[in-house]
Each structure stands twice: as structure tokens, then as C-alpha cells.
């Protein structure tokens, strides 16, 4: 699980120094960078802090007695969530892969620039050259091309060998063969003094293909850089009550059944348990999707994932962590991910047709020339090999990654992060969209109702008190009132409200109806607060979780795109029905638990539907993992985001529809690119079979087909509108 990495002190750092690696969420720009780095450097004992914005990894150098928890605490004060970096999760492994690809790309780029210059001279200037010069230039080309092609081709060779060992041939097999054969054939021609050397092709092949590989890597790295995990939720510390009545701080995973644990306002309960002492409002929206705060009393069972809102409570841990609801959801997620891993990508499907076809044709050409036409071994070999070279899947290798890079860039600028490599392909196939309600269709936090009906003076006076508190309703009230003064003498009475005394002696109260002395039938538990000043009649503020501003519009857009839209929510029937009405969604299911959500998706899948699941709560995480493709808003829990293929930012829901449209455009471009590659091969194969392909034609065809495929991928910019 999450572990601490202490690396021994390096030579340039003082003795006793430690290096602590943290993963920081939410840092996006220069502002965050300065805030985090200078904020941590100000911590005692810290000598240096450096944040990698791409991976979110923060390296802190400190003197020996440094406690990672104080740094995590400091980051929380600055407004960033952080946890200890787990070396086993190995983001660094991905970085190594990227570096290796870049080195190969640079080497083959150097090879192309140098070798093409030489072979062009050989091809065009052959008549003006003496045989000695020609031989020297050929050998120079061989000298540079052989090591560069072999080095740059190594990722393909390794992958080809792995796939042959596994008993099936992937696209890297014909690529490896083409590289090796073009080198071999060129050596043969050079020895013979012939002109048909393919040294340029030998370096150009890995160069063009590596561009595709690197683009593909960039897309995949973006997907994994948010290396969040459901485990992170369990890697928290709790305060346990000892036999002698004192408190000790322990890791949540060390909690045993029967332990008594104290939670104060704002803490997330990491284990299931029963309330022993105290009474508090709980935010369970992440677990059930229910928006109204839940009042927990002594003797009640609480499930892991709930957040304590106002007063401290004591809990007796029920089950060990592995049996908690969070852990059970974790296992559901794993099961869902396994189902999804069986998805076969477009490029792999193309490879399944391409590989046997091209190998069969090359063999056939060789046999026909050798046996039927009696052309001699050399000519037959040359024609067979030249077919392998010209049909090499450069365009195919670029077809998908180029489209993906453009599409992800396009979506990124609209606030949608594409997290999985094949997410776009799967999204393009979706025909049902299942939405969670709380936090997905709605904003997931309370908003003041009928703000216009409330006198502005009252609102402003109440807001002075509200600004003191972190209670969700107080925050919502302060937000509705905008910026303004704070009542400095105000004090918060947990579980009741806020009290302040004016300089002239007037008492101001903001809180529960009973707290301010108002008499009213309960509206909806936890969804209203009252304000009273002195003996004036109290004023009531009601709150509700409201739909995202463009929810209805988005549902229309999705229906226009041909998707069936559904709501599956854990919230109560009436609330879900209201949301469904407002967004014109006919199919809705309310009051379902996480397991029932996954059952619902399984039923849809059994009926042959491809489901797009959009959700944000912990109760959605398993459903997100199980769905054909999934999205979650940027406000979702890490554990939930980790299972989504797409994450969209901001208050707008329209990016969901935009992503669907963009993914369909992307899929169309990919198919066009495959079509183009096929058409190109339909011309190249007969030419090669007839022995008409020269090295010059081969290299021109190779470069131009790759260029056309890339240009086609760029066409998404112009066409992508909803």
C-alpha cells in the first residue's frame, strides 16, 4: 500500500537529510507551483521542494526528523490534497518508457537525415560517380543505417518476439521483418555493386513508426498521471481511544474491530462502525447519492466514506477495513476492470487482418517469381522483400495515435481530460447514457432557493455570520450573498448554529429552527437555516441541490446524437423524479445501492447495449468500472475519477455531449485513415509484385502516406461542432 520512500542521502545533500516524495492533486498552473513550493520551503527543516506539474509528484528534501504528515497538513492548508507517493505504483516506470522512446526517436531521426542524404546522392548522382565513390557512399550509408535502424527498431523487435512467444503475430512482426530484410537486402546489393539499396527505408521505417508510438505514449501517460487509487482513501490516520482514556494516532488500516475512534468535524470515517457517543450530521452523499445531511445518533451504524459535518462523535469500529463498504466497492471495481480489459482496439482488429495478408502475399510473390517465372533466387527475394517494405504499416501505426492526440487536445481545451487510451474508441460506440443524479446532473452542493424573495439586507446581515462557518449550508448562504464583511465576534456552536453579539448588545443567531427559537414544520432535514436578530421575527433560508445550468440542454444534445438517456440514483424517489422531469428523461430508477447499480448495468449489457456511465460518487465507482465507457466530473472523489475514462471540469454538463460528438469524429477519422492505408496498399502491392518498386518509390510512398494520414487526423479541428 502507501509507503514512505526515504532515499539515502546523496553526495550533494547534507548528511541526515531525507527525501520525501508526495503525490499532489489539483496543481495546474504557475500559481499553484509557487504556492506549493514556497509554502513547503517555509516549513521548518525543509531545504528544498520541487513539484513536477506533469506527474503531480512533489519531491521534498528535508533534515532528518521531518514528518511527512506535517507536510501533507501544510499542503491541505494551502488547499491541495496530497498523499505519500507509493513507489510500487511506479509512475517512474512510465517516465522511463517515454525517455527510451524519445532516445530511439532521436537516433532514428539522426539516421534518416544522414542516410537519406547519402542514398539520394547515390540514386541521382550515380552516373557522375566513379564506382569507387559509389561504393564508399554505400558503405557509409550502411555504417550509419545499421546501428541506428537496429537501435531504433529495438522496441519493435522486443514486442515482436514477445508476441511470437505468446503464439500470435502482432503488427510489430511485419515491422521487424521489414526493418531487418531491408538492411539485409541492402547489404546484398552493396556487395553486388547494385543500386537497389534500401538503407533509407531501414531508418525511415522505425522513425515514422516511433512518432506514432510516442504520440500513443503521450495519450497513455495523461491517463495514468492521476495515479489515484481507492487505497488512498484508506491511507488516513485516525485517533483511537486507549484503555487509559488517552488518544493515540494510528493508521486506519491498523484499526481492529471493537476499537473506539474519535472523529471531529470535517473528517471522513474510514471504517464501518457504530456510534457510541455523540450526535452529529453526516454527509453521506458520496456513499448513497442522498443530498440531505443525515443525523446520526448513538447506537446507529455508520458506513465508511461518510463525512462528519458538525459535532465530534465516538465510533466503535465494526468490521476490519477489508470488510468495509469501501473495500467491497474496491473489489467490485476490480471485477469491472477485468471485464473491460477484454475490449479489442481498432488498431488490433486491423492488425489481425493485415499481418497474415501481407505475409501471405510476400511469400506468394517470392514463390511465383522463383518457381513459376524461374527468375532466380536474387530477383524473387528482392521482389518479395520489397513488397514487405512498401506495405509496412507506417500509415497504420500513425492512423490511431495521430487522431487520438488531436482529439484529446481538442477535448482538453474544453475541460475534458481523456484518461484511458482506448476511451475515445469506446465512447464512440456508446448507445445508452446512464447518469447519476447527485453531483452529476446536479451541482452536488446546496444552493439558496428563492434568493430574489429574500430581502437583501437580511441576506447580507445573515451572511456576516455565515462567513465564519464551514458548514455546507452556511457556505452556500455566504456564496449567495457574495463578498462582504465578517462578524468578528461570532462563535460557532457545533450542531446548532452561529452566535454573535453586536456592539450595541443585540444578539444575532444563525442556525437550526430550535436554536434561533423559530417555530416551523420541518422543511427537509438539514436543508434550511434560520436567522434572527434580537427580537425581530426570524427569517428562513431554504436550500436545495440544483441541476447544472445546462443539464436539460445536454440531455437534448445526447438524444440528438442517438443515445438513450437514463438516471440511476441512490437518492429518494421524489428528488430523482423532480430531476428527471426537469431534464425530460423518461427512464429513471431511484434509491438503488452500489451493487444494484452494477446489476442494472449488467442487465443493459446483457441486452447488447453499450453503456456510457456518468457519475461522481463512491457509490458509482463500481458502475463506472463496469460500464463500456465512463465519465465523471472533476469534483468527484479520487477513487471514482480513477475509474472514469473521461473527467470533465467546471459547472457545465455539455462537455459530456461534446465528448461523445468528438469521439465519433475521431472514430470516423481513424476509419478513414485505415481506408486510406488499405487503398495505398492496393496500389503498392501490385507494383511490388511486378517488381516495379525501386527504393526511391518505396521511400516516397512511405513518407507521403504517413503525411496524408497525419493531415487527415488534423481535420478534426475544423469539423468538430455540436
Amino acid at each position: 500500500m502507501v509507503a514512505l520512500t526515504f532515499s539515502p542521502s546523496a553526495a550533494d545533500r547534507p548528511a541526515h537529510a531525507v527525501r520525501i516524495e508526495l503525490l499532489v492533486r489539483g496543481a495546474r498552473c504557475a500559481n499553484c507551483l509557487t504556492k506549493i513550493e514556497s509554502g513547503l520551503r517555509a516549513v521548518r527543516g525543509v531545504t528544498d521542494a520541487r513539484l513536477n506539474l506533469t506527474t503531480g509528484k512533489l519531491v521534498v528534501d528535508a533534515e532528518a526528523p521531518a514528518d511527512p504528515q506535517t507536510m501533507i497538513g501544510r499542503l491541505a492548508e494551502l488547499g491541495y490534497e496530497a498523499w505519500l507517493f507509493d513507489p510500487a505504483k511506479a509512475i517512474s516506470g512510465r517516465e522511463q518508457e517515454g525517455r527510451a522512446l524519445l532516445v530511439c526517436l532521436a537516433v532514428s531521426g539522426f539516421g534518416v537525415a544522414f542516410v537519406v542524404g547519402l542514398t539520394d546522392a547515390l540514386w541521382y548522382g550515380a552516373r557522375d560517380m566513379g564506382p569507387a565513390t559509389r561504393l564508399m557512399i554505400s558503405w557509409l550509408a550502411a555504417l550509419v543505417a545499421s546501428p541506428t535502424a537496429l537501435y531504433a527498431g529495438s522496441p519493435f523487435f522486443a514486442s515482436a518476439i514477445r508476441s511470437i512467444r505468446a503464439g500470435r503475430a502482432n503488427m510489430d512482426v511485419p515491422i521487424s521483418l521489414a526493418i531487418l530484410f531491408s538492411l539485409g537486402l541492402s547489404y546484398y546489393e552493396t556487395f553486388r555493386g547494385g543500386r537497389h539499396t534500401y538503407f533509407d527505408a531501414a531508418v525511415m521505417l522505425p522513425f515514422l513508426l516511433l512518432i506514432g508510438r510516442y504520440l500513443d505514449f503521450l495519450v497513455r501517460r495523461k491517463a495514468s498521471s492521476a495515479a489515484a487509487d481507492i487505497v488512498a482513501m484508506q491511507a488516513v490516520q485516525v485517533r483511537r481511544l486507549r484503555e487509559d482514556g488517552t488518544l493515540e494516532t494510528v493508521w486506519a488500516r491498523d484499526v481492529r474491530p471493537g476499537d473506539r475512534i474519535l472523529f471531529s468535524a470535517g473528517e471522513r470515517v474510514p471504517v464501518d462502525g457504530d456510534v457510541v457517543e455523540g450526535e452529529t450530521s453526516l454527509d453521506v452523499s458520496l456513499l448513497t447519492g442522498e443530498t440531505a445531511a443525515h443525523l446520526a445518533r448513538a447506537g446507529e451504524r455508520i458506513e465508511a466514506g461518510a463525512i462528519v459535518l458538525d459535532r465530534p462523535i465516538m465510533i466503535r469500529a465494526g468490521k476490519p477495513l477489508e470488510d468495509s463498504l469501501v473495500a467491497r466497492i474496491g473489489r467490485l471495481i476490480e471485477a469491472g476492470q477485468q471485464a473491460r480489459n477484454r475490449y479489442v482496439r481498432l488498431a488490433d482488429r486491423a492488425a489481425a487482418i493485415y499481418v497474415p495478408l501481407v505475409h501471405g502475399l510476400a511469400l506468394a510473390v517470392f514463390l511465383v517469381w522463383f518457381i513459376v517465372l524461374h527468375a532466380g533466387l536474387a530477383v524473387a527475394l528482392r521482389n518479395g522483400i520489397s513488397l514487405l517494405i512498401v506495405t509496412c504499416p507506417c500509415a497504420l501505426g500513425l492512423a490511431v495515435p495521430a487522431v487520438q492526440v488531436v482529439a484529446t487536445g481538442l477535448l482538453f481545451r474544453r475541460g475534458v481530460l481523456v484518461k484511458s487510451g482506448d476511451g475515445l474508441e469506446r465512447l464512440a460506440e456508446a448507445d445508452v447514457a446512464v447518469f447519476d443524479k447527485t453531483g452529476t446532473l446536479t451541482e452536488g452542493r446546496p444552493r439558496l432557493l428563492d434568493a430574489a424573495a429574500i430581502a437583501d439586507v437580511t441576506l447580507q446581515r445573515a451572511a456576516r455570520l455565515a462567513r465564519v462557518s464551514h458548514h455546507p449550508l452556511a457556505v452556500a448562504l455566504a456564496e449567495a450573498a457574495g463578498a462582504g464583511p465578517v462578524s468578528l465576534g461570532a462563535r460557532e456552536i457545533p450542531g446548532s448554529g452561529i452566535e454573535a453579539v453586536e456592539p450595541n448588545g443585540t444578539r444575532c443567531l444563525l442556525g437550526h429552527a430550535t436554536f434561533v427559537g423559530a417555530e416551523s414544520p420541518p422543511f427537509e432535514t438539514g436543508s434550511e437555516i434560520w436567522y434572527r436578530e434580537g427580537d425581530c421575527p426570524p427569517a428562513r433560508f431554504a436550500f436545495a441541490d440544483q441541476l447544472r445550468p445546462d443539464a436539460a440542454e445536454t440531455m437534448q444534445a445526447l438524444k440528438r446524437l442517438g443515445l438513450k438517456v437514463e438516471i440511476v440514483s441512490g437518492d429518494r424517489r421524489e428528488t430523482v423524479a423532480r430531476a428527471a422531469n426537469a431534464t425530460a428523461i423518461e427512464d429513471w430508477t431511484a434509491a438503488v445501492n452500489p451493487v444494484e447499480k452494477t446489476e442494472h448495468l449488467k442487465r443493459l449489457r446483457a441486452a447488447g447495449r453499450k453503456v456510457l456511465m456518468v457519475g461522481d460518487g463512491l457509490n458509482d465507482a463500481a458502475a463506472l468500472a463496469l460500464a463500456h465507457v465512463s465519465m465523471s466530473p472533476g469534483t468527484a472523489l479520487d477513487a471514482t475519477q480513477a475509474n472514469a475514462d473521461f473527467v470533465f471540469q467546471g459547472a457545465s454538463l455539455l462537455p459530456v455531449a461534446q465528448a461523445v460528438a468528438a469521439s465519433r469524429t475521431a472514430r470516423r477519422r481513424m476509419l478513414e485513415n485505415f481506408g486510406f492505408a488499405a487503398a495505398y496498399n492496393a496500389v503498392a502491392i501490385p507494383l511490388a509484385a511486378l517488381g516495379l518498386v525501386t527504393p526511391l518509390i518505396a521511400s516516397i510512398a512511405m513518407a507521403s502516406s504517413s503525411l496524408i494520414v497525419t493531415l487527415n487526423a488534423l481535420r478534426q479541428h475544423l469539423q468538430d461542432r455540436i
Partner: protein, 57 residues
Amino acid sequence: MPGLGLIILAALLLGLGGLAAFIWALKSGQYDDLEGASWRILIDEDPPVDTQRHRRE
């Protein structure tokens, strides 16, 4: 003819030099955080200059 050999040799060395420089830059971590690097140029590393004191001196 010796001129040709010299030119090819020079081109080869220049190319290899460029390649070596790139690999050095890569290995020393300069390509690890392109996103952060693009923001870092906007950050003032030095504390703001105290103009008052400058004038007095």
C-alpha cells in the same frame, strides 16, 4: 575527393554532436516536466527589490 570525405565526416560529427546533446538533455531531466517548465519562466525567483533602500544607498 578528399574534400568530399571531409564534408561527409564533418556532417557525421555534427549530427552525432546534436544527438549527444539531445540525449544529455533528456537524461538530465530537462524533458521530464514540459508543462511545469512552461509556467516556471513566469515565476520571479528573486524577492522583490527594495527600491527605498536602493535610493538611500
